[in-house]
Subunit: 467 residues, 2 copies
């Protein structure tokens, strides 16, 4: 429920904040309201036109990037759905907020008691909050939306999702709103990518397997080409839905009052991407369009993390950061191609499914990545949907030695420490951790990683002393 | 809240059940009500006079055994607090109900949505439900007690706990009651076992380290003797509290209407016991006193599991078993020393603390135990309190090769499969899994174990196919 006194304090805070930050942000004009539309893709990697993919058709996301800022170096803090969404919505690493793995079914991971996320914080400040589509974090009270929007026609029907979003946006009152749009595309279905569904009025963009450019982390097999073509179609469907939502924001006249963010939760649902901390798993799209930014079509090279999204939204809303938030606002970076002081990100993965224990901690700088595999004697577990994919089953049945440039053995059996020089080895194939030439660097990144674990209250710190 | 119509249906059910089962049970008289007092000790192994411990003084539990039935072969299904309590209160293995590990702090394990436990089921049938002391299962709504009884003087004050219990019992109405008493004794404190507390009016029973009989699974070191003496004092304090509760049941005239159960959650808080599936971890006290049993001071040799406790209480209350309950009622066994058909138990451990992933599945017959260690390449993780114990730190600092009869190496580094002949090797030292002479037996127990995992919907079944 909305309380007038809360709104008043929000407005006052907003004004104070605006007066403090308007210079730093070089805002072109003060928006009347400070609405937020946060759009989350499901398992979407860098397969976007505006990120350089020559095959995929994503005109809506390309439009958003042209009107806003595309972060060329944005990183998920974990490559798993619920944990990553918890990071996006709390600004905490998942080892801090407790969302160590998937929220649903037997996995049943729950954020810790007391965790309060963006919808809760914004609602307390007087926002109207709504969600359409995927939620997938627990417990419900920690990620509580006032309105759960219904849409007919199945999870993949981005047209009805967009209609529901439009209705929510158009019903805008004197309260600012926060709308989360959680697409189910381009996640895998039990088989395929949901492309057989009937979606009246929706543009169907199909791809030919032979036109796909297979990335270096996947093998060029018929199964991979077939599945990538299906995956691309699913992405284009989502992009179409995003276009309808952008239209709705424009047509309701709220573009000048609404911060729009597009982000994915984790990398593509293929072996070597999703659930890994390798680049394909965590290097993801992040596009922000603010009415207050001065420049458009900005490509920002800052290394940013998804822990920065909650601080960005709270900054936009003029709200203080709650204690324990790890990230910082991206708003000051929106107009800059190369802002100073954005040169390192961290990653923390522990589970995906509850049976998939594989704790990893990571630091990535401009030039290097270091991964600490805390239970590396275990075989790296593949998510059920990846394990069952045509791509992986093809590899298994043929007994292929490689999955793209990486050997299958290296994918499944990892050393305790991995260190890659990304300037020379962007595909993370040559582990330098054991190379004495890198001893000083190794010592440095180990120390930085541990310090970050301490700062963010990582329960797995216990492994430094108890084993 | 209590609804009269619910009580009526309960009473009718109770009568029907009594008429069906009174012959099988050879009940001496039909109780007026069917109250339940379930008492749970915290980390209490077989250190009781009535279980043959010549040093410990537990007159109250000995009295309960003399008035009821002592199960000589009772086994926890998991040796960890929250998981074991979830088993006790749901009749499901913890891999079924989802309470895979500890409920509190960063561990934050929660039973699955939809899980309903004894207090919920009994409350729906018209029972008054109350808890005094330790709860330690999640979420609250799955283990919901109507009354949470307060008691002053700290967690170890068994006198005020008993007073609170007495007040609840004495307030008995026409509704039957279910009271859970969760002692904090004899769990470890941050240091020691809470024996320095001031407990006015409480009997203090102290033990001399030199009098302790060190069990074969612990080393005979000064630290172990000192800690066992402290542990014994904590057990005697709890026993004193149990005596006060038994007095209360007697003095309120409700003994003839009240089923009393004493059980522990898991084995002693020492290396080689708690959190293991070895005998000291899971072979625990279980004493049941029913007003309806004909014989007293019965020693029952049935192999029973803590999954049988919920079915026992529901049987006593005349309620049907909910779907998915794994155990069966012990009531028909109370008058028998050697009832037929109780010759196998199972165990399932996955976590204790969330950082302590170590999935094990176990089957134990009259003669053998088979343990499948699903992540045996990991070092076996010690619980924080065990790791910090004087007993363990002494072993570490001296670099001892053994922890009792077991080597430290064997304790920490386990094979994938363990098979012990308990008739010849009760301390589980000689693993026979690799011995070709046992190939047929091994094949048999593997099959039984897998079948049980299937029957009980174990998520870790995935490890048979995906790795």
């Amino acid at each position: 429920m909305f309380h007038k006194s809360t709104l008043r304090s929000y407005v006052i805070l907003g004004v104070i904040l605006a007066s403090h930050t308007v210079v730093g942000r070089a805002a072109s004009s003060a928006p009347a309201a400070r609405n937020v539309v946060l759009i989350i893709g499901d398992d979407h990697g860098l397969q976007l036109g505006c990120y350089g993919d020559a095959v995929i058709k994503t005109p809506s996301l390309d439009r958003l990037a042209a009107q806003g800022t595309r972060f060329a170096n944005a990183f998920a803090a974990v490559s798993s759905c619920s944990p990553s969404r918890s990071v996006i919505l709390t600004g905490q690493f998942n080892h801090t907020n407790g969302q160590y793995g998937l929220a649903h079914a037997a996995h049943n991971f729950n954020s810790l008691p007391g965790v309060r996320s963006l919808p809760n914080l914004l609602a307390e400040a007087g926002y109207r909050t709504g969600i359409v589509g995927k939620h997938h974090v627990n417990p419900p009270e920690a990620y509580a939306f006032e309105e759960q929007l219904c849409y007919p026609g199945g999870q993949r029907n981005v047209a009805t999702m967009a209609q529901a979003a439009r209705k929510f946006i158009a019903a805008s009152t004197d309260r600012p709103f926060f709308l989360l749009v959680g697409f189910h595309d381009p996640h895998r279905d039990k088989t395929g990518f949901g492309n057989d569904g009937k979606f009246p009025g929706l543009l169907k963009v199909e791809y030919k397997p032979e036109d796909i450019q297979v990335p270096p982390w996947l093998p060029d097999t018929p199964e991979v080409r077939h599945e990538l073509a299906e995956y691309y179609e699913s992405i284009s469907r989502m992009d179409h839905g995003i276009g309808l939502i952008l239209d709705a924001i424009q047509q309701t006249g709220l573009e000048k009052d609404t911060l729009v963010i597009y982000v994915s939760d984790n990398g593509p649902p293929f072996p070597g991407a999703k659930t890994t901390l390798y680049e394909p798993g965590i290097h993801l799209p992040l596009i922000v369009r603010s009415p207050a930014q001065n420049r458009r079509s900005v490509t920002c090279q800052a290394m940013v993390s998804f822990v920065d999204i909650t601080p960005t939204v709270l900054d936009w809303a003029g709200l203080a950061l709650p204690k324990g938030v790890a990230g910082r606002s991206l708003l000051p970076a929106l107009d800059q191609n190369n802002p100073a002081g954005w040169d390192v990100v961290y990653g923390s993965h522990t589970f995906h499914e509850v049976t998939m224990y594989y704790p990893m901690r990571m630091i990535r700088t401009r030039t290097h990545k270091y991964i600490l595999n805390l239970a590396n004697c275990l075989e790296y577990p593949l998510a059920s949907d990846l394990w069952g994919s045509e791509a992986w089953q093809g590899i298994l049945h043929r007994g292929d030695a490689r999955c793209g440039q990486r050997t299958v053995n290296a994918l499944l059996h990892r050393p305790r420490e991995e260190l890659y020089d990304l300037t020379k080895d962007p595909n993370e194939i040559h582990n330098l951790a054991a190379d004495p030439a890198n001893a000083a660097l190794l010592e440095q990144v180990r120390g930085q990683l541990k310090q970050w674990q301490e700062n963010t209250r990582d329960p797995w710190l216990i492994k430094y002393t108890h084993e």
